[in-house]
Symmetry: D2
Subunit: 152 residues, 4 copies
């Protein structure tokens, strides 16, 4: 299958998350660290569905890991209980071993609740040394990036 066909088939990931009672604090808005939970679960879904390799399989079968080395969170306006947050993921940069992604949480009008930039590094397990991103992943990441640019 050619890369062109892949690129056509890939759809930008959208995850929908209703803010639950237990995700909120006594001020009635999302508890701050939950935003990083939402972003990491979006990245996890992206690994499962777009890269095609869930973290567990990556760890146990392929002896690799993709840990977070840096995260930056910008809180624009806090979602409250029962709000529905649409999460999207964009690829910001792709290095030798590192991948920078941006998870944005938006309301139904497309306005940002928050933005979370995550830098991940591919490593060998159990050595915990960085590893060049393998061609299969690189191709899928670039195809995803191309698919996202078409709609932005």
């Amino acid at each position: 299958m050619s890369q062109l066909q892949d690129s056509t088939a890939v759809q930008p990931l959208r995850v929908s998350q209703t803010v639950s009672w237990g995700h909120c604090d006594p001020a009635g808005i999302i508890y701050t660290p939950r935003v990083l939970d939402y972003a990491m679960e979006t990245l996890e879904t992206w690994n499962r569905e777009i890269l095609g390799v869930p973290w567990f399989k990556l760890n146990r079968e392929l002896s690799m890991g993709f840990p977070t080395v840096k995260a930056e969170l910008d809180f624009v306006k806090p979602p409250a209980v029962d709000d529905v947050v649409t999460l999207k993921l964009d690829v910001v940069a792709l290095g030798r071993s590192s991948l920078t992604t941006l998870v944005t949480g938006q309301d139904s009008a497309g306005e940002d609740y928050f933005r979370v930039k995550i830098v991940s590094v591919l490593i060998s397990v159990p050595e915990y040394t960085s590893k060049e991103i393998i061609p299969e992943f690189r191709q899928k990441i670039l195809a995803y990036q191309a698919a996202c640019e078409k709609i932005n």
Copy 2:
């Protein structure tokens, strides 16, 4: 060292937990499932400090596990933000493979916030079959039970 000396040395476990902002829901009281978190962390501490074997060591070095098969929670009055909960653990029953413990969360006046009964079963890993509680654990559990009865 004799069992008598052990029994004298063992102290009933007390864990203090301040209810944080993020543990509470928009009603300003502890979010219900957090009570089970508090109870399980108390049981984990008890395994580490009283049985002398943290769960990770039990799992990876001794090829055993102590999973929960049943839990019963009674909510008497909900602690609120900044309340300090004192958690104590009592041994309720000790079977061939199973251990029943009761974690009680109390306020500073000794009144109950909640009671959590947990039934754990010792298993072999990775077979996941029940296993007779080993003599070393049994002796420590009985010594702990005796120490608790003295102060009740």
Copy 3:
């Protein structure tokens, strides 16, 4: 609209939950207290979609609450990372002020992962005194119960 029509329209609630990396412990299976999280979020969804009143609205606009007074968890087999849990909710008993529900988590073959029985009591806020379940809720609960019985 007659109750008969209601009963026809109501569908038994099914919630699908993929077990994420962060929901699991170092043994690779769901961390015990997460099961109560899953059950409570199912009950919350049921309040929002079947009773038609999210907890936040219940609390802030209607001056009521529906706190949990008792919960019983049976762990049959633990779901692992990337497993998909189907959660269903059945009404077990309906008293003057109390509602007993059973949330069951199942695998794709319909086998139980866990069962969680939750007793909730309707209260007036901020008095925190029990309150007779209002006719609107009672009718919807009975219609839901009837709809579930048809498929069991």
Copy 4:
């Protein structure tokens, strides 16, 4: 009481946190978003003990809030199950309405596990508009900063 005496009395905050089984993921290390939980709970303790105003009292009695507008996390090495993390908090910058703090998590040898920079902004509630940091807080923040500098 003079500011000098305050400054002498204030001690840099140290919080000790044992990494529990439920805080870790199937790789046996802390689940990434938990690091932000640890940092936020340290900041909450600092508000309670150093500023002398728990968030709940700030919100409900003083009609103020201190929400996070930005957070930056650097993961140096991940703590694993049963590791003890010592958390310390330093004041990095103090603006008109904003406070920048740095929470560092370290092992027993003083090496960093992670660093979390948090920017908070004082607001009026329920208007949600930024507000000049009140003199009582400013004085305590500066006294704390001076106390930390003495030991660094």
